[in-house]
């Protein structure tokens, strides 16, 4: 998380830390047996990682403390079936579910996020919050959970930002922006999610109930916190049917 702050204890109880074959990633609790993350955390070079190589931690804001805990047992991995990203250039459908072997008991440090109704409209400018144990502004991995509040960015502005990146970096393969994604961030840069945060939650608060709901999953971006660039998130509201069906079928 670039430009953010340390999260006080129990303020982001849905935060999950994943360790995938030595790499760090984020995820979120959405049920007592279910974790949601980005598909690209579980599918590497076109192959699903072995569930035995996935370690799941939660319940603390200190990554070093988390790493000392016994990881939660993973029952099964469920990346979205349409996620195909062999060249790291197509993050469409970057969503996955992890089923735990044992149900969680929720308490102040571990709570689930709400899910939105299907096809909920995200209002441009609405402030959300993203969190993670990823790289911070000094390019150093964060061992304390950090968070930052970022607004939802207009889709056209985001597309323009991606286009400008393509123009500026003609030799690079910039991923495609789809309707299953949305952008969040500030044009002046310096505030963004970054490597190691992917799979974590971008949450919005429902005004009437003051409840946080999972609006996005940290997916990709051109650099981190760069001027005129935004973070790109999987649009969760597009996947409610798939989420429900996957959980019911399993």
């Amino acid at each position: 998380i670039m430009g953010g702050e340390k999260a006080p204890d129990k303020t982001i109880p849905w935060q999950v830390m994943l360790s995938v074959d030595g790499g760090r990633a984020g995820a979120m609790v959405i049920g007592d047996r279910w974790i949601m993350t980005a598909a690209h955390n579980l599918v590497q070079k076109g192959k699903l990682v072995l569930k035995e190589k996935l370690r799941v931690f939660m319940g603390d804001n200190d990554a070093e403390k988390l790493a000392k805990l016994t990881p939660l047992g993973v029952a099964s991995l469920h990346p979205h079936p349409e996620y195909k990203n062999p060249d790291n250039a197509n993050y469409n459908h970057d969503i996955a579910l992890i089923k735990l072997q044992q149900p969680l008991t929720f308490h102040a440090a571990i709570m689930p996020l709400c899910l939105p109704p299907e096809d909920t409209i995200y209002k441009t400018g609405q402030i959300g919050m993203v969190s993670g144990f990823g790289i911070k502004e000094d390019d150093i991995i964060a061992n304390k959970l950090r968070y930052i509040r970022l607004p939802v960015v207009d889709g056209n502005k985001c597309q323009a930002s991606v286009n400008s990146a393509k123009a500026a970096m003609p030799t690079e393969t910039i991923p495609v922006l789809t309707d299953n994604m949305f952008c969040a961030g500030v044009p002046e840069g310096g505030q963004d999610s970054c490597t190691g945060d992917s799979g974590g939650a971008y949450v919005l608060m429902e005004d009437s109930t003051k409840r946080f709901w999972a609006a996005g999953i940290v997916s990709w971006g051109v650099g981190c916190g760069q001027t005129g660039r935004y973070g790109v998130y999987t649009r969760v509201a597009k996947y409610i049917s798939w989420i429900n069906k996957t959980m019911e079928d399993n």
Partner: protein, 439 residues
């Protein structure tokens, strides 16, 4: 049966003149020997008689005979001036036989042609009991009791006598009588006549165990006694009443003992007279009643059915507990209870108790808990309340939380449902919110 039926005379039949209803032939002499079984009389009824009339039925006649004795001689037509017509009145034979003889002369006067006769006969039972002694006519057929039967009769004797081999007269005999009917009458030999001398009569009343015998002497009671300062002494004549496990009791005197409960299903009566003195005799009617069992005591939190004022042998009772209570006996729960009053006057099972039921520990609620609101030890009508571990879990909207221990031993909510609620995780609501006051 077929051979017997053929060998016995018929109980009824029809007899007609030759060629009836055509005119009978001339110069005829025909005889019919009619009979019915022994013990019956033969009754003859004419349905038609048309024989040439003449004075004294001189020319043509139908003669009715019994043992060669002429009972009647008929001729003529009904309402005719001449002849002797039987009319509608039936003819009753003294015995079970009858002979008819039809005789006609050589001519039949013209123009009327006489048709003869048609009659039917039937057996009619003889009331032998109303007939005099067939031997000398001096006394009744049976010396004591006579029972008429179809075609016969039967003699019997009062208690204390038995039938002689002649099957007609009775001789004194009062031993060995066993009375096993639920009720009956006994009396001294010859009662109400004075008792004969030298009697040693034994009467045993023995009914089914479970019943008890009550003796009820009639007022007319007289057994010779010797007066002493201590009251009557049954020295020469007595009636001894023996009840098992009790001292035998001798009765005599002129005062009826009246009603005498024995509390036993068997009683022996021994009637003794010596060869002198006078006892007018006695008579009693005995009845039986079922042995009584003690009325069951009331059951706390239950009831005994049926509710009778008294309970007797073979009566059944059941015990049902009030809703919320269970039947317990000897420390164990029983599904049902029924007890029968036995022949010894005891119930075959002791009464059970009704203990309050309990629903057991309420089911644990995952991510929640249960609180006792009222009652104790999970007993009937105890109330519990489920709750979820808030703020991390909450009950589904509309879920009920209060459960009562019902009579079927399950915890049920106010909709009578035994299903416990579920605790649903609360999402998106951290207990600590990020706060920031800097602008």
């Amino acid at each position: 049966c077929w051979r017997l039926a053929r060998s016995l005379p018929a109980l009824h039949g029809v007899v007609q003149s030759p060629q009836f209803p055509q005119p009978y032939p001339a110069a005829l002499s025909q005889q019919w020997d009619l009979s019915v079984p022994e013990g019956y009389q033969l009754q003859l009824s004419f349905t038609h008689l048309d024989i040439e009339p003449s004075a004294d039925c001189y020319y043509d006649s139908l003669t009715v005979l019994y043992d060669k004795k002429v009972l009647a001689k008929f001729c003529g037509q009904e309402n005719s001036a001449d002849g002797h017509h039987p009319g509608n009145r039936p003819l009753l034979s003294p015995g079970n036989r009858l002979t008819l003889v039809l005789q006609t002369d050589d001519t039949n006067p013209e123009p009327h042609q006489h048709l003869g006769f048609s009659a039917h006969y039937q057996a009619k039972d003889i009331d032998e009991c109303s007939a005099p002694d067939p031997e000398d006519g001096s006394g009744p057929l049976c010396s004591q009791l006579c029972h008429n039967t179809l075609g016969s009769y039967m003699c019997s004797c009062r208690h204390g006598y038995e039938l002689r081999p002649d099957q007609r007269t009775c001789v004194l005999s009062c031993g060995g009588g066993i009375f096993d009917e639920p009720e009956g009458t006994l009396s001294s030999p010859g009662y109400p006549d004075p008792s004969p001398h030298g009697l040693a009569c034994q009467y045993v009343i023995s009914v089914e165990p479970g019943f008890i015998v009550n003796l009820n002497f009639t007022d007319s009671f007289h057994i010779e006694h010797i007066g002493t300062q201590n009251g009557p002494s049954c020295l020469y004549h007595w009636l001894q009443v023996s009840i098992p496990d009790k001292e035998p009791q001798k009765l005599c005197g002129g005062k009826s003992p009246g009603l005498m409960p024995t509390n036993s299903y068997t009683v022996q009566l021994d009637y003794h007279t010596d060869w002198a003195g006078l006892s007018q005799g006695w008579s009693l009617h005995y009845t039986t009643q079922r042995v009584q069992c003690a009325s069951p005591s009331s059951i706390t939190n239950g009831r005994v059915t049926p509710n009778f004022p008294q309970y007797y042998y073979r009566d059944y009772i059941q015990v049902r507990c009030d809703p919320g209570y269970k039947l317990m006996m000897d420390g164990r729960e029983i599904k049902s209870y029924a007890s029968m009053c036995q022949k010894n006057g005891q119930w075959h099972l002791s009464l059970p108790e009704c203990h309050i039921i309990d629903c057991g520990e309420p089911k644990a609620l995952l991510n929640g808990g249960v609180t006792f609101i009222s009652g104790s030890q999970n007993q009937h009508l105890s109330v519990i309340q489920y709750h979820c571990n808030e703020p991390f879990y909450s009950l589904l909207g509309g879920a009920t939380v209060s459960y009562t221990c019902a009579a079927d031993r399950t915890w049920r909510d106010n909709l009578d449902t035994p299903v416990i609620p579920s605790c649903i995780p609360v999402c998106g609501q951290p207990t600590v919110y990020l706060s920031g006051f800097q602008r």
